[in-house]
Point group: C2
Chain length 160, copies 2
Amino acid sequence: MIQLDARDKAILLELQQESRLSYAEMGSRVGLSPAAVHDRVKKLERKGVIRAYKIQVDPEALGLKLTAFVAIRLDNNFTGREIQPGLEQFHQIEEVHSIAGENDLLLKVRTSDTKALEALIYRIKAVPGIARITSTIVLSTALEGRPLVPGESDESIELR
Amino acid sequence: MIQLDARDKAILLELQQESRLSYAEMGSRVGLSPAAVHDRVKKLERKGVIRAYKIQVDPEALGLKLTAFVAIRLDNNFTGREIQPGLEQFHQIEEVHSIAGENDLLLKVRTSDTKALEALIYRIKAVPGIARITSTIVLSTALEGRPLVPGESDESIELR
DNA sequence: GCATCTAACTGAATCATATTCGGTATGATA
DNA sequence: TATCATACCGAATATGATTCAGTTAGATGC
């Protein structure tokens, strides 16, 4: 288990919202020199706490006007692991979760419209081992991509 | 509607996976000078296609070992819009979607463990207007944070 | 056909920032 | 007390972002 102090947490919180902050700016926010911030960030990268630097794009700008959650029930003799390679091929699938409950997998998918969603579902159905699909269409998204806040102990994240 | 050509799409695809690529490196990947890439990226930012630069962190490293989807059914005389402010206060909620179907809202939440999830659900239940909550625990996540691929017309995104 | 305008590009400055480095302080360890 | 590791700092250096003047190609209007 990696130990993160209050400054690491503050840095991670900032970078989750704006990863292009300069080390100097970050330093003045958390009370460290640019070089010290640099050290910490590199360490966080090395330890895998920081997984990647990404951009968030507006799905609509890419023509992806429809979001949906697709719940999948598998045939009894199949596991999620076995199905996964068959799902990866569809770039419309943004997330794949194995879940507990009535269904076995929950996917988050993005398509241009209902027609494209229909086509996608049809193709997913063709993947061997899939017994039943239930789709839920997203009408609107109020919150998305919020930063993750460290759990437990210190419920109040303040940087000073 | 913003028009994106093949190069814009290629740039967006790259940046969704690694937003720290230098303009020079990006230029050689898409066949442009660094300055030309710079122009394009700035334009994409200005137009809102690029919403933000972020880091992806490992939830486990933050002690967030549990992911769950929480479906909420509202009382008949409430709307998702009205409920939202009551939900924003919980930083454990990563996403809030208004959905069609049996339930009205679908939340993606992260907590440290089942105990913390229980506490969160309990507190969500206290928000006025919420009739019924159904939680689905994520056992494992196979895919997450995949890049969005432009929809429709050109199903094959190749960059030469 | 020709002048004009715009958008997108290029290469070459320039400027900001990341990165590296040597050195210091602190706390743990033997 | 000596030794070591960690985290920090300020200053130098290297890298990359940003700006800019100029070019090209494609539209537009006369």
